[in-house]
Symmetry: C2
């Protein structure tokens, strides 16, 4: 297929590196340095987003706030190309699709494979291997568009799960925004471990790793779907309050059942 | 040195495997299967704890609740041997040392190198390499005893930090009990991500890894120094509440400074 990629950061760069092996791939980024880095790695580059079409598909892998503007610009001349975004929030894309020009084909996508690194220099064609690539049909998705999006997801080594934008955004608040907030709260509370903070073992390090998320991305993840994120953080506060109360009243049985419930959730992760 | 190890689980087994390379090492465990597994791996085994003395040092690496009973039994006939425990709470050891027989030599120890695996089968002589081994002097520690404990810590590849039992237990509540509680609360809240729980990426997996801690150990970590643990959990709740309130009132600036404070704590971890 002829595929364009808009946004050559960690996600877009990794997709470009993986897809160019089996597809006719072209990349674009608003940032000249990102374009130069991708070009140096052998990716064909254009200097205007419009030059990515005509194509079979254009993947929009920009920061969240730039996704809908990029889709709007592409929609005007997409001529049947499947527009697939990769942002971690899907309601805004679904909302835009509902008002996009007739004939536009838009599929929401979300590869579950972030790291706390950013930029093309961190891109890795193996980033998506064995991960889940969530696909969200919109009012502008037809069977052929879903099939093209599915091919792209599988060609980067991911497996596909289809869900609605509502289900997606609520779940991501639990799996992404909540853990991010907890990592930040743990790190800030951990500062009180001084002078022994530097002795922290792998448990504290892993637990707080998400606090390294770049501030712009972290803020978008918390505020992009704020109601869901606030609810997810509320659930974590609730669980912690139950555990603290159990510790304060010496109720080992309660704490043990809570910990066992937590372990059984972990065991459901493949 | 002639060194005994009581308790051949993950920590004791790893210490025994590391120390036998340069010391005259003997192991003991109350559980016959643990003794058999260690013996099969070439560790000299005795079938009674009393047979570990006389020795230069005996390391007590039992579950937390068995540490003071083991120290009591060894103290009666230790004859100058340095008794070094490896539990993650140090006030109880310091309290026991204060009432231990005159002439007993007791040092509190805590290697910062747990995993969620357990038992001799998970033991690894490289477990402590590059980690911090905290040493806590007690009323029964003299310079020679601290020196023996320091040699043991360095001989397993760790670096030594000395602190008081109070500083240790308060810090560990922040670095161990708090993260454990947060991991459990995150996992339980994560269950509400169904049907997408299985799509969880590496962020959620790392953030909840401590929820795999065996239930007995996890309960001891939360209740062994309950006041400290409750305070640490309270600090995490406080941070999460600040973040949730910021999300609810749309205050990106506040959230961003909180996230930046969290990142700067992370950057202090070596």
């Amino acid at each position: 297929m002829k595929i364009g990629v808009v946004g050559l950061g960690l996600i877009g760069g990794s997709l470009a590196l993986a897809l160019r092996e089996t597809h006719d791939l072209t990349g674009y980024d608003t940032d000249e340095r990102a374009r130069a880095a991708a070009k140096a790695d052998g990716i064909r580059i254009v200097t205007r987003i419009d030059d990515l079409v005509p194509a079979d598909a254009v993947v929009v892998a920009t920061p969240i706030s730039a996704i809908v503007p990029a889709l709007e610009q592409l929609a005007a001349r997409s001529n049947g190309a499947v527009l697939l975004d990769t942002g971690s929030l899907k309601r805004t894309v679904a909302d835009y699709a509902a008002r996009a020009p007739a004939g536009t084909r838009i599929v929401g996508g979300h590869p579950m494979a972030g790291t706390t690194s950013a930029g093309f220099s961190a891109a890795d064609p193996g980033l998506f291997r064995g991960r889940t690539f969530l696909l969200v049909p919109t009012a502008r998705s037809d069977d052929a568009a879903m099939s093209v999006a599915g091919t792209i997801a599988r060609d980067v080594g991911a497996s596909v799960t289809v869900c609605s934008a509502d289900v997606h955004d609520r779940a991501m608040a639990r799996l992404v925004a909540g853990p991010l907030a907890a990592a930040a709260a743990l790190a800030v509370a951990g500062a009180q471990a001084e002078p022994l903070l530097g002795a922290a073992g792998p448990g504290f390090r892993d637990s707080t790793r998400l606090a390294d998320t770049p501030a712009d991305l972290a803020t978008e993840l918390l505020f992009g779907s704020g109601t869901d994120a606030a609810a997810a953080i509320g659930s974590i506060i609730e669980g912690l309050t139950q555990l603290r109360d159990a510790v304060e009243r010496g109720d080992r049985d309660y704490a043990r059942s809570f910990l066992q419930a937590a372990r059984s959730v972990r065991s459901e992760l493949s």
